[in-house]
Symmetry: C2
């Protein structure tokens, strides 16, 4: 009768919980190894099949990695953004998230990344950005193929400079989801020379703002650029929200 819920506590769940808890508390740290499968069978009093199901789940979440035939047992892994990326891809490809949502989030995250980068910039990070600009400008001249890779790399370097891993991950995942989505609908947005030149100019302006410690400017630049890049791809109603995001930081909305 009751629209019933909940998992009827399956055996393998105990092992999953044990490992998750252990990692969260710090009892298990990356590099540690779990006992072998047979040993786990003994310790947890469950069958091999259950142990294996638990290991598959843990592997899927990215917490452990069991090498094919390693007598030393499954390896505890350092957490990576990888599972998030996967889930987000599924979510976008199956309808829960559309392009407008992604652009919204990207404008938000990119702007914030620029802002904190300007606040936390170091000589080392600035050099990496300069080096990227160098390569970008080369590609614009020579017109080589993989421009978008360097393009995205710039954003990632900026996000890394801020030192906030969450901003980094959110931004990275969102960027990736967008290019996945766009490249599927609009085939290759980008070998246009004019577009490349504009992108380079934008990157240079952002770099200057960050180097000068002007986070507010860097943040505004990001939103303006993303707006003029993507706003034509969404509906009027959605575009209005994006415009608000630009104005939120005092930016001008190009018509």
């Amino acid at each position: 009768m009751i629209p019933e819920e909940e998992a009827p506590d399956r055996r393998f769940q105990r092992l999953v919980d044990y490992v998750q808890q252990g990692v969260a508390v710090g009892d298990l740290t990356p590099g540690d190894r779990l006992p072998s499968e047979r040993e786990l069978v003994r310790q947890f009093g469950i069958g091999r099949a259950s142990v294996r199901e638990a290991l598959r789940v843990l592997e899927n979440v990215g917490l452990v990695k069991s090498q094919p035939r390693d007598p030393r047992g499954p390896l505890i892994q350092a957490p990576t953004p990888e599972p998030i990326r996967r889930s987000l891809t599924i979510l976008t490809s199956a309808g829960g998230v559309n392009l407008a949502h992604l652009i919204q989030v990207r404008m938000i995250m990119e702007a914030s990344a620029n802002l904190v980068a300007a606040a936390g910039r170091s000589q080392e990070h600035l050099l990496a950005l300069e080096e990227n600009l160098e390569r970008t400008s080369e590609r614009v001249e020579t017109g080589a193929g993989d421009f978008s890779v360097i393009d995205l790399e710039f954003d990632e370097l900026v996000a890394r400079s801020g030192g906030n891993p969450l901003i980094h991950v959110y931004g990275e995942v969102t960027r990736e989801a967008i290019v996945n989505l766009i490249e599927r609908t609009i085939q290759a947005a980008g070998d246009d020379k004019e577009v490349m030149r504009r992108t380079l100019d934008h990157h240079r302006a952002v770099y200057a703002a960050i180097a000068a410690g002007n986070g507010l400017l860097a943040s505004r630049l990001a939103r303006e650029a993303l707006y003029s890049h993507y706003s034509h791809l969404v509906s009027d109603r959605e575009r209005a929200v994006l415009a608000d995001l630009v104005r939120e930081c005092g930016g001008e909305v190009a018509t």
Copy 2:
């Protein structure tokens, strides 16, 4: 010798890929059912253990749900942000994220949530917010215990109003992580009557801004409030970044 990599293509992967692909293409839609385990054994030419491992993985990413003993087979589920939430939680709890990082992100996400909520508000959402304000004000009077629950609920309702599931999820995870972290260090920040009253005032102001469609104001309010709430918990250097976030949207930094 070689530090070898890669998965040696395990059997169950084929089934996992099949379902993922099917859902992505639209071949399988939520509400559909997969064949029974034994049927899958036949169709894919793999053992039942392998089929079950595949089902556990698919269950883990939220694509299917196999009810305990349902002869009709595993159910294809509508994608939810739940797996992202899980992964994010793991990442924040074990991945070098500190309080300052979390506060940064929360200021960013909360402000954005307010902004898009103001843009996409509906009568229904406004009513839910009003109802929450009602309850909040009751609690302030009577001084009942679980004030923080209703407090957080307000933020969540706002995030939901915007209609962007990503902002919703990111915000929720961040909020959750913060209260976990704070309640562990500072025991219960909140039965202070004065704090509760200020919170209520803040919520009312945000509600008014959203109802009026003034997203820029709502966003600024969020950052200012979070700054005055949390800034004393972080170092001077980190506080400077938070202050920049407030100024980014034209806010005043309370000294």
